[in-house]
Structure formats: structure tokens, C-alpha cells
């Protein structure tokens, strides 16, 4: 031991250092444990559903739990149509805003607008759902002459808005990470800034933009409160573009609306956990794909730069 030399430092017994290191390591692994536990609980609580409900019933298009109809297709369809609609809104507006902020806006404007977009990301979804219900849906009903404004379209618009901050912030990071020399080279060859954005900067940042899109979709499909409040919650299987204008019901809204009223360990309870598993698996696929894109991009950049 070198106790003679480290007299100025409080001499901590190595035992304590060992303990703290062990605690930190345990905390480090906690995320894996939580994901595992969440998956485990969803599986345990939903297995009885597969025993109690016939597969043909689960895969039917009728959701009417009171009479033991547990067809999840209308709910998956509802989530799907709203998520597609939301993506069609969030992607162009999100990427467009990111390009504007990163490539066009003067510095001061960029520093002002970025926090505002971040604020949108922080607004509770129940507040957006509340406004969607009181302001957005009534206008949609009048403008589009619908029987009710509580529709898939209202959900898609709201979800698009909710997904935008995710898309903006990740695509902006990706655009920001494109080396300045790329743009300089393009401009020096006589390209306009517009051509540089479309043919050089954006393609160079494409995997980041792809990640942004994936995570935006993930955010949209998992959103609950806002969707539940504006979509009218009718479990009807959407079959075409026209259904965008009628009420739908998503997987998330079904869980949120019905879990509070079912008896624990009833069939209905287990089926709701089964829907939870579907949502869990979708988010797993979306997020792993998105992160795989990022990892691959990092590697290919390292190859280019080395």
C-alpha cells in the first residue's frame, strides 16, 4: 500500500469502493432486467387468453367483449390507419422543419424555434387530446361535413403533431452531423444551395432521417390519451381511405378505456394484456430496427473516414 503518498486523499477502504462499484454495475444492468420483467409479466398475464379464447375469435373483426367477441383486427386496423396518417403528416413537416432549421434559418431564428418545437414534445398528450376534442374535431366536422369530427383523421392529425418533435430533433441532429466539407464541395462545383440540400446533405443524412421516421412511427403507434379522446372509439375494421373520416379505435385506447372496468383475471383482462404484448412487440421491432440503422451508419462512416 502507498499510504505514505496518498495522505492528502481521504483513505477510503477498498471495500467501500468495491461495494459502490457493484451497486453501479447493478444499476447499469437494471434496464435489461426491467425489459425482461415487462415482457415476462405481459406474457404471464396474456397466456390464459390464448387458452380461453379461440384463435378464430381473436382474429375476427368483431370486438365486443361483453358478448365474448375478442376480435383484435379492428383495433390493429385502427392503430394502423391512424399511424399511417400521422406518418404522412409528421414526416414531411418534421423533415421539412429540420432542413429549414439546420440548413436555411439564420442562427438566431434556429435558436428560438428549436426550444419551441421541444416544448411541443413536452406537452402532455392529455392536454393535446383535450384541445383536439374541443377545437380540432368540431372544425373538422364543419369543414368536411362529417357526421362527427371524432374520427381517424382527427387522431392522425393530432398524432402527426405529437410525432413531429421526435422527427425534427433526430433528423436535425443527422443533418447537423453531415460534414461541412460535403456542402462546400457541392457549392464549389456550382450547385445551388437547394441542389446541395437535396442531392448531397439529405442523402448523406438519410439513415438518421430514417431513424427519425421509425421513432416517430413508434411514438405515434404507442400514443394513448390523445388518440382515445379524439377518435370516437368505434371498433370498426377500417378497409379503405374513406374510413379515415369515420370513428376508429386503437389498441392503446382499448386498453386504456377498458382495463379500468374489467375484473382481474377475467378473459377480457387477459385479452387486454395480449393486446399489450402486440404493442410491446411492435415497439421492439421499430426501435431495434431504428437503432440498427444508426449502428450501421456509424460503422460505414468510420470506414469512409479511416
Amino acid at each position: 500500500m502507498m499510504s505514505k503518498y496518498n495522505a492528502g486523499i481521504d483513505p477510503k477502504p477498498p471495500k467501500r469502493e468495491f461495494l459502490i462499484t457493484a451497486l453501479i454495475k447493478a444499476a447499469g444492468y437494471s434496464a435489461i432486467i426491467f425489459v425482461g420483467m415487462i415482457f415476462l409479466f405481459l406474457v404471464l398475464e396474456s397466456l390464459p387468453a390464448l387458452r380461453e379464447v379461440k384463435l378464430s375469435n381473436l382474429l375476427s373483426s368483431r370486438w365486443y367483449p361483453i358478448e365474448d367477441y375478442y376480435g383484435v383486427l379492428p383495433l390493429i386496423g385502427g392503430s394502423l390507419i391512424i399511424t399511417i396518417g400521422a406518418t404522412l403528416i409528421a414526416l414531411p413537416f418534421g423533415v421539412g422543419t429540420a432542413i429549414y432549421l439546420s440548413e436555411i434559418a439564420p442562427r438566431w431564428l434556429r435558436e428560438t424555434l428549436k426550444p419551441i418545437v421541444e416544448i411541443l414534445g413536452g406537452l402532455p398528450s392529455v392536454v393535446l387530446g383535450f384541445l383536439g376534442m374541443l377545437v380540432l374535431s368540431p372544425y373538422l366536422r364543419i369543414w368536411l361535413d362529417l357526421p362527427t369530427g371524432l374520427s381517424a383523421l382527427a387522431g392522425a392529425i393530432l398524432l402527426g403533431g405529437i410525432a413531429i418533435p421526435t422527427v425534427v430533433s433526430i433528423s436535425e441532429d443527422a443533418l447537423d452531423a453531415v460534414p461541412k466539407s460535403y456542402r462546400d464541395a457541392s457549392l464549389a462545383m456550382g450547385a445551388t444551395e437547394w441542389q446541395t440540400i437535396w442531392r448531397v446533405t439529405l442523402p448523406a443524412a438519410r439513415s438518421g432521417v430514417l431513424t427519425a421516421a421509425m421513432l416517430g412511427i413508434g411514438r405515434a403507434i404507442g400514443e394513448t390519451m390523445a388518440v382515445m379522446m379524439v377518435t370516437g372509439n368505434a371498433p370498426i375494421l377500417p378497409t379503405g381511405i374513406r374510413d379515415l373520416f369515420s370513428p376508429v379505435r386503437t389498441m392503446t385506447a382499448t386498453i386504456a378505456a377498458e382495463m379500468g372496468e374489467v375484473a382481474n383475471n377475467s378473459t377480457h383482462y387477459h385479452v387486454l394484456f395480449l393486446i399489450g404484448i402486440i404493442l410491446f412487440l411492435i415497439s421492439l421491432v421499430v426501435n431495434v430496427t431504428a437503432s440498427a440503422v444508426v449502428f450501421r451508419q456509424k460503422k460505414s462512416q468510420e470506414r469512409i473516414l479511416s
Binding site: 447499469g28 426491467f34 398475464e45 392529455v126 437547394w194 404507442g222 394513448t224 379522446m229
Partner: protein, 286 residues
Amino acid sequence: MTMKLSARQFKQRLGFSLLTLMTFLTVVPIIGVVIYIIYLGFPAINLEFLTGFPREGMREGGILPAIIGTFYLTLGTAIFAVPLGIGSAIYLSEYAPNNRATQLIRIAIINLAGIPSVVYGLFGLGLFVLFLGFGTSILAGSLTLSIMTLPVIISTTEEALRAVPQAFRTVSMSLGATKWQTIRKIVLPQALPGILTGVILGLERAAGETAPILFTVAAFFLPRLPNSPLDATMALPYHLYVISTQVPGMPIKIQYGTALVLLVFVLSMILIATAIRSRARARRQW
């Protein structure tokens, strides 16, 4: 402007205008939402509204139990999520070897961040409320919200820790400090503003969430204050949901008033976090 534009310059102008318009259409509604709620909610705000209990089937009186409930839930979330999140971030930034196990941890964190909030609600119901027998309680809700908040705290804290220059660590350890001493006395204090920002933003998310507390904490109507962590409680986001969808004949003023209180609660957290971040950036000497 008589200068003739070439086709490609014209295209550029058109494109830039389009992008400006899109940004405008993204940003203006955000400001609009905030102003609209302030405008319509402000008339409802008075002392009774903020400090009173709901009366007449929530159509009159105040929302104190919901405010206090959200405060306790946020506090409870902080108690569990902050030490665990910071510990996890320290591991990833200072200890973790670059191997498959670490990669697995990162994938797990990314997944936690992506799991829909209502699925956290299911999990909290299954594990904390039923399996561990906490019942619908502040404890069960705080634990559920903590796990949901964890990825936000971990990733922002890790980023803050990594931003501390490596030289600081090298110097500290070359003076004889142990690894933990270096982390506690050098790295953590330097990263503190970044960590605080991440923690507050994580808690802000927890404060505004409704879906995870639907089946784990929230009471529809409970006009008294909770007096133990095992009590159920009202909470602002759930209360807003209840009065705007479940109670017929609810005065619109009270709905907007509740929305405003929730908005002020979360916006002030965002503002504090942003202020800490920008102050730290301005003062940073490395």
C-alpha cells in the same frame, strides 16, 4: 427586382419558401395551443380553485387534491428513478466495457424508451398493484412512472458525463484518487447541470402522463389529500381526462382551468431545465 432568375434559382426560392412555410405551420400551432389554453383557462384561476376541494360532482370548487397528487407522484418518481438512472448512466459512461453485454444494455434502454405508456400501465398493474399487493397507490404509480422515466434520465445523464473531458479523469487518478473518488469529486460535479436538465425533463414527462397511472394510482374522485404512499390519489392529467370526457355538464371554464394548471406545471419544469442548460453552457470553461 428586374433581375431575371434562372430556372434553378427560381426552384431554390420556391423550395426555400415551401420549407419556411412548413416550419411556420409546425411552430405556430404550438404557440397557439399554449396561448389558447392560457387565455381560456386564466379566468378559472383563483385561490379557491388552487387550494380548494372539488364540490358538486367536481363542477365547482378547486382541484387541490389533483395538484398535490401530481406533486407526490413526481416526487415518488424522482426518489426511485434518479438514483437508479444516474447509477446506470455512470456505469455506461465510466465502467462499461465495449462488449456484447453493454450493447444489450443499450438496446434494452432504447426499448424502454419506446414502450407505449399504456403498456407501462399494464405492467404496473400486473406487478406492483396485483402481484406485489401495493394496490392502486402512489407507491405503485411512482414505481411505474420511474421505470418509464428511466431511459430519459439514463441517456441524458450519460451524455452529460461523457462531455466531461477525459483529461479531468486522468489528472485526478494520477494524483492517486480512486476511480469512485474521481467520479464523485470530479466528474459528477462537472456534469451536474447536464444531469439536472435530464432529470427534470424526465420528471416532466412523468408528471404529464396519464396512461401509466390509469390503473395504478388514479382516483376518479377523491376529495381528500393522500396521507400515505399506499393511498390512491387524484392527479392532474387524469383529472383533466375525467372532467373533459366522463362528467356531463362540466363547466368549460373549469376544464380549461385544469388544463392550464397542468400546462404551467410541466412548462415550468421545461423552462427550468432549459435555463439550467443554457446557463451551464455559457459558463463552461472547457
